[in-house]
Symmetry: D2
Subunit: 431 residues, 4 copies
């Protein structure tokens, strides 16, 4: 993913210390995520939707090399010309690429050599940023900003992909070391419903700071009065849905969803398993008991939609969600918490709980272009725009989203059958 909306950093010098520090933090963050992983862990691809950790490390580096250094650093020597082919993800403008479902075949280059690649590119970026000036510096600053955000996205993907890989292994290894940190204690307070009036609202990103092109242009949208639950649907709620035959009741489901349920024999969220001691779920902490107070997670859009129908509610659309999210600070159980799993909601504060972090929230909105949307020119224009079909918008970030990455106008998107991200839901109803 990538974008155009990057000319919005007026307050700071074009390539300031802030950007360079954030670049360094992002780069180091990715490496740090791989510390608990072996060479093999980093190399295997568990399904076509997922990528090896090593590939994430290399692809985020390719991004800087192909979009920043190759175009802007005079005399830059690529680390290895063949990596342009190996680590391009989906950018048609950048030429042919290694097929996505075969990323796991790349046992070479080794993990070590990919670290060398990373450092080679980082050295180039250091040289470039130190020297950039004038109009080019503005463009470079934008691209580096984009690259940082891109790297953050892949940090999240790296963790979700590792969870998927480890879940395929009967040994069920844990990514996190030791016991998971204690979460929220005490009873969960019941949901409250928050009411919002309708009317014309401003949607999308405006004001300063980075955003992706798919959040633009900011535009007016008409919202009808609605009510929104102030917390996420929990595992306890989900167990009630299951106990009531949710996965066996065709009339609760979209037609495509029901075909999926039948075809895949879904009977619970992804990673859940029933044993003698009840339900457990595979997590980044290995297999753990299902906590009824924690948010339901790893459910598809089809499941979220069926659950809402069963509950007599509906999913919010993305405009409703954005209206509500603007009122609360971007705080919550994000990646920096180190929890690596969604947590029970806290006690009522003034605003909605769990709007940011814990799980990405499925909305009822298909992922489409905002009115007046135009993709950026060139390769970076492929970041978001060409995916605007067949996917649904999710909002709010998750427990593995890097701090500072998400915002109220942020639009994530996945296919309605996908479940391996940290995905859950919040209910809505007409106001």
């Amino acid at each position: 993913m990538a974008g155009k909306a990057m000319a919005r950093q007026a307050a700071e010098p074009l390539i300031g210390q802030g950007l360079m520090a954030r670049l360094r933090a992002a780069r180091e963050g990715s490496e740090a995520l791989c510390a608990p992983l072996s060479d093999a862990d980093q190399s295997v691809q568990s399904m076509a939707d997922a990528s090896p950790a090593k590939w994430h490390l290399a692809h985020t580096t390719w991004f800087f090399e192909a979009f920043v250094l190759r175009d802007h650093l005079p005399g830059y020597q690529p680390f290895d010309e063949r990596f342009f082919y190996l680590f391009n993800s989906y950018y048609e403008h950048e030429g042919a690429r290694h097929p996505r479902p075969r990323r796991g075949m790349l046992t070479r280059p080794s993990a070590d050599r990919i670290l060398d690649y990373r450092h080679h590119v980082e050295a180039g970026l250091d040289r470039l940023l130190a020297a950039a000036s004038g109009a080019d510096a503005a463009r470079i600053g934008e691209l580096v900003e984009l690259g940082i955000n891109h790297e953050q996205q892949h940090q999240e993907l790296l963790l979700t992909d590792i969870l998927h890989l480890f879940a395929q292994n009967p040994l069920e290894p844990a990514y996190g070391e030791g016991e998971p940190p204690a979460g929220q204690a005490g009873p969960v307070q019941a949901d409250r419903w928050r009411s919002f009036g309708g009317g014309i609202v401003r949607i999308g990103h405006s004001g300063g700071g980075f955003c992706y092109d798919n959040e633009t242009p900011a535009h007016d949208a008409l919202v009808h009065p609605f009510r929104l639950a102030d917390a996420l649907v929990t595992n306890g709620d989900w167990l009630a849905f299951m106990a009531d035959g949710g996965y066996r009741t065709a009339t609760l489901w979209l037609s495509d969803g029901w075909a999926q349920v039948q075809g895949e024999n879904w009977q619970a969220p992804l990673y859940w398993q029933e044993g003698e001691d009840g339900w457990s779920q595979m997590s980044l902490w290995g297999r753990q008991p299902v906590d009824p107070r924690a948010p339901a997670c790893h459910v598809s859009y089809y499941e979220a939609d069926a659950f809402a129908r069963w509950a007599g509610k509906r999913l919010p659309n993305e405009f409703e969600w954005e209206v509500a999210a603007r009122e609360v600070p971007v705080r919550g159980n994000l990646g920096s918490s180190g929890q690596l799993r969604p947590l029970a909601a806290g006690h009522h504060a003034s605003g909605a709980r769990q709007m940011f972090g814990d799980v990405w929230e499925w909305t009822a909105s298909p992922y489409t272009a905002y009115p007046g949307f135009a993709a950026a020119k060139g390769a970076v224009g492929e970041y978001n725009g060409k995916f605007m079909c067949n996917q649904m918008v999710l909002r709010g970030g998750s427990c593995v989203t890097p701090e500072g990455h998400v915002r109220a106008s942020y639009r994530n998107f996945f296919y309605p059958h996908q479940r391996w991200q940290f995905m859950g839901l919040r209910l809505a109803e007409d106001g």
Copy 2:
């Protein structure tokens, strides 16, 4: 498909002569469509998306039997109990059913026996409608109205499915007898662009007459200023797109669309073939030369979207289309023309040309529920609502849509890769 919005026939007696005449016309119309078809033609299923003609004849009959006679005609004896299983399409409320991809295995019941079935049910409807009174009559009238519209939809499907079947046969048989009737003569006049201001508009069905539930509730929507081509994209336009490498240029396509193009090796619209005399296309009149003046047809959403991008335009969304369509009468090259193929646009009149008939027009709108939408209770609630995912809205009817079936608020929907319906496009741009 089916609906709830049926309590809107206040002007006429509850079950009046008009309804009965239209019922008879619809029923006879379906039979008439099968006159040129052999028993074999009516029995074979050419792909999972299509159904045998005989199955269409039986299923539309099942609809009246299952939803009207069984519930409302005291003492009704089903023609054959097993037909409830054989000819249910997708109604989970109605129980188990014969799998869709295996509809072509039903060489029995014979075509003759299905006609007997039809007449048995029609006799039941005659008795019921003659006797109905009171509150039940209103409900019966609604259901019969729905059944008529349902039958009309299947008349269109029957023709598109027969075209698909005949296109699989190297002999390329024609459905229509003799030469196709002459279409529009003379040169095609260039497109004009019509401008529309933005603002809050009323969308969906209101006022009298039948509509499907997915056209309701009527509601306010915000439309931004836009311009709309006054005619459809033509085969001539499409040939230019092809000549310019449209099918080989990845960057014109949505990501899923490009995967489809590559996976299926698409190089032209469905049914097109290049020969020594240029391009021809299979049609209900057998193989015919591609007429550059006629509308492009049998293109997927992916192709329509890529074409619009190539042309520097976009597809209209469904609200824009509806705003423009309300201004013109529901007239055009519909099924009653006997043309059985899209025709070149006529000369400029005051309003948009070809808004109704010729080809269904892909819009940029994913098929979703209108705000406040609630599916009808029970089986008829499955008519439309459960398909509100992964499909795109098309508007306007086609050259095989029965007269009187379509209207400005009418929403058709197909998956973005599908091409076998009479589907084309009209361009739009921001105003």
Copy 3:
């Protein structure tokens, strides 16, 4: 299938009345088989392995047209040039052909037109046979003989394919009219085992009369002493195998067979179904109770092999079977019985029972070339030779094999997973 071994009719004039009568009988026989079938029944293809009845009628006609008339009748006008493409089965020498899995798309030509085609070709054959003389007559006689045998094979296939088609239909139509004729009455007598000494035996066709090329050359083979059951494995035996967990015991199965059992969830022979009244099986007489005295039928090689292992026996190899079959006359429950289903074995006579007719008997022999085998030159050489891989030999003919078609040296062959032919087994053990 077809062959070379055709220069063996020395006793009769080259194209004698016998040949012409048999030709006429074969041709009329095929048409007669279609009498109970509608146009739709004759047109639908129920799976890629099966062909529509209409296609069988046309292909057997194509065989005479392409191999006899086109090459040998001066001035012959093909009925329709396009039929050479439509009705070629698999002869690469004869050029491109309609893909096998799409034979069911050919609703046209109609059944009537295919009868016209048949009669056109028959008239040509009449002219040719009346006039043929000299060396050409010998070759023509051979080819006509081959064509008759070819037509007989397709008569059997036509019936097995119709059974498969009707078995896909929940209405389970019967091909035969009325009740099935009574079979063998009285108790079944227990198997006896017949012993055969080993040694060098002559295998393959020698002496007069027609044979296929795959039965040649006659050659010596070494057979070890063996014993052979004098009757077929029965449904009663099979029920015991099932009751003993045969379909759930991995160690009884070949590895590929077990994968098939698991992948297809096989729990009984094809067409069997368990109901409140026990097991029944779909047949050419519709659904009928499983008769424990009748031979087990519609089992794959994998099942036959597993059954034999369960029984502590083995399947005979094809040489053993041929040695035993030579001792008994070619009589049994063949197609001419009108039974259209395998029957219980009669009482003991001097030789083996059920060697011919009832069911084709799986042998332990992979289908390979006999030593010194050479396929005939040209297209007819493709009849048998190119299938000599991955298939297993079956011997003895079935209840739908035309009278006069089968003999002791006759080699049929199918893939080990196939079940839709009338296939069963006889046990053997080392002597």
Copy 4:
């Protein structure tokens, strides 16, 4: 694979130093093969037919643990109970197992932990062998012998699987370090044909030493006079076949073979690629030019069969091959040569060249049981017997077969479409 024919070591003490030394050599040999491989190289599975190197290391260890230590070493503590599930390959007697196509998901246990597993089991074997006595010692000796041979088979598979994996990687890494050792110099001498008379011959293993159960029982077979090429078909021969349109000429191919050629678009042996400098092939030494003098390799049975037909010859059957092989010593370009690739034949000596080593030679014989064959009791009986269907016999060993593993009666077997082993062919004709 595994066997029964193991009671044939009368000359040496039951568990002698010879066996222990060979066990140690086999175990060390496997580890040594992995020295050039990273943890990732050892963990990825490149297709369902192949297994990760790490899995080979673990499975060969499981074999000793499950078949020897668990049953015969009192008080043996398994290294990790879960490994019985993870590293069972296909032994139904040993219970459930990790699905074959998912062996590549096991990034854990790590390569190091698998070495610990190996050493744990080796320590157990040391204790067992030192203490074994009496009747049990004989059985243990047999099983250890089987385990050594099993380990040798997996050494060959490990190399062929690594080649396959590296061939999926666009970087085309080499397994061998540096340049490949020089092979045979000088011109290749033309083939000579060696003649063999027919008659009854003894086939299968007899006399002392280890063999697999599928080589037994030794039995008489009838062989017809034949002639056999004294060297393998070369790449030069293969290039001539290709130049003559071999891959485009349907009539050269078995029907299933032609379907494979078309479906997979085969145009050359596996791993071949045409570039500006002609044809090259991926090898354990990375990409290397195709040497026209070296044996053709990585061809399927279908290709071997088509080549032979094109050449006007045929493949030998396995009895013919065995008759010829008995005359020559078991010497050749086997794994111990370090060549890791097939080499050009040397100059004529008295007997056939290349009978052992270089490439496994496809025979015309389907893999079936010898007369009187009975699989061993229990799990080891699954080693060979259950694969006796759908596969073809190959003879002679290859350039990666461990020294001492192969013999004249040795039967290898693969499916006719498989190509990733070191497979080639030698021609034969009737004598």
